[in-house]
Symmetry: C2
Subunit: 324 residues, 2 copies
């Protein structure tokens, strides 16, 4: 089997050959720009990994893997407009570098290009692969809508939040693995377990992101530490803390978030102190462990030799101790 680093290299090579050189350049330049901004390329790597796990020929999975990456970057491009984000990976976002119209239209073209790439599978696999892709793509949109709703919604439960991150982030990881496995010709039931494995791991991954945003090493973490606190984002940590404060009949967090005049650094410090007091990091860690365990149970259900499964296990472990 290939190592994760080898799969990553294959994706990088394929991406650098993908450059869209069609006209009009105003449409395609932003697409090439976002695709070359970098990133861990986790989704296409998972797609190749899903194929490799079952002994498939990964050269047949390269185009759909690129399709998943183009789709993922399409969602980032449009999300950045909705979030009014000036930067992505320390570079100007497309609507910032060009304009909103170009960002909308380039994103639309990316979604279509993602479909074109995803369709590059054998005819007998086409419908199954596209059904999974369609269902996942719609869930990602629904998750993004829920995420926007939660910005203003008063009562967001931890259950709501977990459902939202599952849709917005986790299902695409599951679908990547499943599509790769289907391309290898794996049994459908096995591919469903792999989908669930990816989904549960994705939820754990996102919860870790919430922790890193507050407790990450600012020299290693790619974003501003405390960014979620500054932007009042309803993360797992905040929702858990609000829940605990409600039980304790205290409301220091609500007061902090209502205070419009508090300087950002002070707010980050004060909120982090409350998080520490309430030990919400431990609660988050427990939640992560529970999703990690669920992911491991799915692996156990897959009909594969143990040495192949161990690749998934060690990959999961790497993800769980990440610092960026």
């Amino acid at each position: 089997m290939y190592s994760i680093a080898e799969l990553q290299e294959k994706i990088q090579d394929a991406l650098s050959c993908l450059a869209f050189n069609e006209n009009p350049e105003e449409l395609y330049e932003p697409i090439n720009y976002v695709l070359l901004l970098g990133g861990k390329r986790m989704r296409p790597v998972l797609l190749l990994l899903g194929c490799d796990l079952f002994g498939g020929n990964i050269s047949k999975a390269i185009s759909p893997a690129l399709g998943i990456e183009v789709f993922h970057n399409f969602t980032l491009l449009h999300d950045d407009i909705m979030d009014n984000a000036p930067l992505r990976r320390l570079k100007p976002t497309v609507h910032n570098k060009w304009n909103i119209s170009i960002a909308i239209l380039s994103g639309d073209a990316m979604l279509i290009e993602a479909y074109k790439l995803m369709m590059k599978v054998e005819n007998h696999q086409l419908r199954q692969v596209m059904d999974i892709f369609n269902d996942t793509a719609i869930l990602v949109c629904e998750g993004q809508q829920l995420d926007m709703n939660y910005e203003t919604k008063k009562q967001v439960t931890i259950h709501d939040y977990l459902e939202m991150i599952s849709m917005k982030t986790a299902v695409l990881l599951g679908a990547s693995l499943q599509i790769g496995a289907l391309i290898s010709g794996a049994d459908f039931k096995d591919t469903q377990h792999l989908y669930n494995f990816g989904k549960y791991l994705g939820i754990a991954f996102q919860l870790q992101d919430d922790i890193l945003d507050v407790y990450g090493d600012k020299n290693k973490f790619g974003k501003q530490v405390g960014g979620d606190i500054i932007s009042n984002k309803k993360t797992y940590l905040l929702l858990k803390a609000l829940e605990l404060e409600k039980d304790n009949n205290t409301n220091s967090l609500v007061e902090l978030f209502n205070d419009k005049n508090i300087p950002p650094e002070e707010k980050v410090e004060a909120v982090t102190s409350i998080f520490n007091l309430l030990k919400v990091r431990d609660f988050a860690q427990e939640e992560i462990q529970s999703f990690y365990d669920k992911a491991m149970k799915e692996i156990a259900e897959i009909n594969l030799p143990e040495d192949r499964k161990s690749v998934l296990v060690s990959f999961s472990k790497t993800l769980m101790v990440r610092e960026i």
Copy 2:
């Protein structure tokens, strides 16, 4: 064969059953809203017509026909954001009634739903149908980008303009007919002629739109008469007039369009006078006739009994004498 009115009714019935009732409602309500704003439903009707022409079972074409209509409305929804349009069919546009984020995301979901509907064809037709749909969808995006480019581009030729309207509008009419014909099991070559027929007719249709915008009966035409002149839109009429003025070494049009203080009604009147003087309506009419003739030549190439072809001919004639 079914009449156009009968096909229209079938589409209306199918559309009213299509209502998306999934959650979150913030995502799906705008989709239902735009799909029920009305319209001639020309594209889905053409898809059914393409199927019916070759004796196909049109019930098998209903879902892809809805897919084409959902796709078309997705492009209108996103175009309206880019054009900053407040109204569509006399009702508030989605970004105006809700907001830009909801308009972007609902549009994205519509594009995915369009794919889901379009995929509801038999397995052996799936790849061919989806390839045409993908290629057409990308052309529509490219056409929209060219249209935006032309707003600020100094030198736009009539050739540029015809290419742009072919991509932005006409190819989708061609693809609708072709996909319908493929679903009926028609010979691929015949479906290509049908595609070309639809494309040429679509160009003629768009040129007519340019004429109607200036010379339409304001009691019948759905939009503001002279709207293109007021918004400085580079239509066929304007580009032809500019070309003729350049040949004549006059530049009264350029002066009129540079005058920022002229009241809209006065501008419409003055520009229309120049159009009349230069007889650009006649030039446009000749161009329409030439594309109409090309469309007729494509019909001649299709292997179908004359009585079936006559349906296409009479449909084309109806389109050519329209007032709205």
